[in-house]
Amino acid sequence: MAIKLVNAVTAIVGGIGGAVIIFWILNKLAESLKGRWEDRVKPWMFAGPAILAIAVYLIYPAIVTIEYSFANEDSTAYVGVKNYTDLVTDKTFLSVITNNLLWIIIVPALTVVLGLGVAVLTDRLRPRGEKLTKTFIFLPMAISMVGAATIWRTIYDYQPEGAPQTGLLNAVLGFFNRAPVFWYGTSTLHLNSLMLMIILIWTQVGFSMVLLSSAVKSVPEDTVEAGRIDGAGERRIFFNIIVPQIWPTVITVFITVLIGVMKVFDVVYVTTNGAYNTDVIGRRFYDELYTQGNNGYAAAIVVILLIAIIPVLIYQVRHFRQEEAAR
């Protein structure tokens, strides 16, 4: 134990210290250059290591993944676009895409709406009540996805008819003398997918609430006041005065949750493992790589996900720049 602690401390001190020394040396090197070259080189000395790290850990793997997506399952020979044509013609993959679209449409929107609702309503509470409410709503944020799915089992669980029901929903049904429902297996109107989404939303609302709450609080009181004097009702004030002023935060929250949802994996993996028409891209990728051992197929799925995420990223970067420019 003591050795582990010493190791940890050494690692932290060594890591940070090492980085400081490297940057100090690089800085000295840049300073040793004369005149305008010092100014030209210096920024690169500081940005360089970061760019290098991104290149090694992000860009290189991305390129290799794209390359593998054109190769066979052991990545030993190229197969052209076969992986992609197989995927597009695979009926199950189309349902995977449909499910992912549903997640993308529903989860970020509901997260923002609920988070905003909580933010606005708690703003009206006395400070103590506000703090308490916010803490409780923020709490699920600290729970891992697997933990959350386990907790929600107390709501969704199913036992055969006649046995004591251990899930809340089925216990309620039993109270009204109705037969229990196997919720995770009910794909009518994607009910089971919706139930999984609720788990994710439950963990994300806290995050959305915290950001939006601070945005709501920073809305200048005089703008609201001016609206009141002009005779605007509460609803008018909310939609025409508050919302436009916090819109940039809304977008930020929306996109952050959106990107998270596109990669959703753990909720689905631990609850249904993609059965009963609840599969999503993230889980399918895992399945192809680790269960089926098909590198090519898995890489192709990731590339499709990458392509789908790029427009969102571009929008986010643009949005960020406009924000910067507006300041």
Binding site: I51, V64, E67, Y78, G162, F182, G185, Y290, T291
Partner: protein
């Protein structure tokens, strides 16, 4: 602006360099062990063994191996994998495999053997073991190239039909000896207004595998051992006239209204470990439950039942097609070697030998060798299963889903029946989908 352009140029430059160096690596990593039957390594002091054994079987396995290791002056490093399939793949891909691995899935073992990552058994060792092993086991560890890559540490028996002995007797039911009698018994129980079956196939991310045991036992009976082998190798389709009757029999049992506790759809929602426990309730929730022997351990049947397992449970052999001709379906962890170091092979050969398994028998595990001392097993229930079901079987076959390519055996053979049972598709679609996913031979 200039800076930004420079950044992009730099990134693209790195990217191109990466592309140039990152060509596909040719699959020629198996240089050292092409024929590797004889040991060439120097004999390392420490040999590692990796396995996915549960907490109940791990200590006994460790005891057996440690006793042997002490006598031979070898240190054994035990590595437990929480998720075997994922971890062994990662370790092999990362170039850091253990020395010996216990594969619960021979399908994955043969996948790795094909990639040249494993060392086969030598002919002499295979011959010695074949004399005492239950017939059919050596074939289970044989991969497509005809070499034996793995032999089991211990086996579990899957062809067991569990009953609550007192309740079964009190109701006046007789043990069914044929599949027809089993159907008749099902009808009889139902006619009395009771529920005959508990069927449970929920297993978290592996939901569906208990169905494969059902189907395999039925294929073994309806199609016979020879056709079973062909089916496992992919030479007989799931949707062929030889195999389909097994599915139709299962359909008759599981899909007929009133046959299964909670109805057909509850099969995939009921846990495979505890799904039979309703059998021991008052009044019984069901009378029949098919599951491997492990279910009579902690975590399976209720503790009170396990404490008096010899009187509370009545394990029956799963009925035969024609009376007396009982094949047996088994599962088990198969030992394979990742290199041909002398001590690696020594450890692997010990695990596969009839000398292994004393401690494990005391913990309730069956040796795959007919010569094993049955009296070591901890209770009469297990002793009966060993001597009557396992060692007397006319033909033993390894769990077929474990032998099939992982894509089917740990993939569609689990997921497609789940879709079928939960009402998403019909039987024909299910069988065709599994057939379509079967990798073409020789690819």
């Amino acid at each position: 602006m200039i800076n930004r352009r420079a950044t992009i140029t730099a990134i693209m430059g790195i990217g191109v360099a990466g592309l140039a160096s990152g060509c596909l690596s040719a699959g020629s990593t198996n240089n050292s062990n092409g024929n590797g039957s004889a040991a060439t390594g120097p004999g390392k002091k420490t040999v590692s063994v990796m396995y996915g054994l549960g907490p109940d079987s791990e200590p006994a396995f460790k005891a057996d191996v440690s006793n042997w290791a002490k006598q031979n002056g070898i240190t054994v490093n035990f590595i437990k994998a929480a998720s075997w399939d994922t971890e062994i793949r990662t370790k092999v891909q990362g170039g850091n495999p253990p020395d010996v691995g216990l594969f619960p899935q021979p399908g994955l073992m043969c996948d790795l053997a094909k990639q040249g990552k494993l060392v086969p058994f030598d002919a002499a060792t295979v011959a010695t073991n074949k004399e005492t092993l239950v017939p059919g086991i050596v074939e289970a560890g044989t991969c497509a190239d005809g070499k034996v890559y793995g032999l089991p540490n211990e086996v579990s028996v899957k062809s067991v039909l569990w009953t609550d002995a007192p309740a079964f007797k009190a109701a006046g039911y007789a043990a069914p000896k044929t599949l027809d009698e089993l159907l008749a018994l099902t009808e009889k129980i139902k006619a009395e207004g009771k529920t005959p079956w508990c069927i449970a196939a929920e297993s978290g991310a592996a939901t569906g595998w208990p169905i494969t045991d059902w189907i395999e036992d039925l294929v073994l009976r309806f199609a016979g051992p020879e056709n079973y082998d062909k089916w496992v190798k992919g030479e007989l389709k799931f949707n062929s006239p030889e195999i389909k009757p097994a599915w139709e029999y299962f359909q008759k049992i599981a899909f007929t209204k009133g046959n299964v506790r909670g109805g057909t759809k509850s099969i995939v929602a009921t846990n495979f470990q505890t799904g039979g426990n309703a059998m021991f309730a008052q009044p019984p929730g069901c009378y029949l439950f098919k599951q491997a022997t492990f279910v009579a351990n902690k975590g399976g049947f209720p503790d009170a039942v396990i404490a008096k397992v010899d009187t509370e449970t009545g394990p029956l052999p799963f009925p035969a097609k024609t009376e007396g001709d009982n094949p047996v379906l088994i599962g088990g962890d198969i030992a394979a070697a990742f290199n041909n170091d002398a001590n690696t092979l020594k450890l692997r050969n010990f695990i596969a030998s009839k000398e292994n398994g004393v401690e494990q028998a005391k913990a309730g595990a069956f040796s795959p060798h007919k010569t094993a001392d049955v009296s070591l097993l901890p209770n009469k229930t297990l002793q009966t299963i060993a001597s009557d079901v396992l060692y007397k079987a006319t033909a033993a076959r390894f769990d077929g889903s474990d032998l099939m390519p992982a894509k089917v055996g740990a993939g569609t053979f689990w997921t497609e029946p789940v879709k079928w049972i939960s009402g998403q598709q019909d039987l024909n679609t299910t069988l065709t989908n599994i057939d379509d996913s079967f990798p073409k031979t020789g690819s």
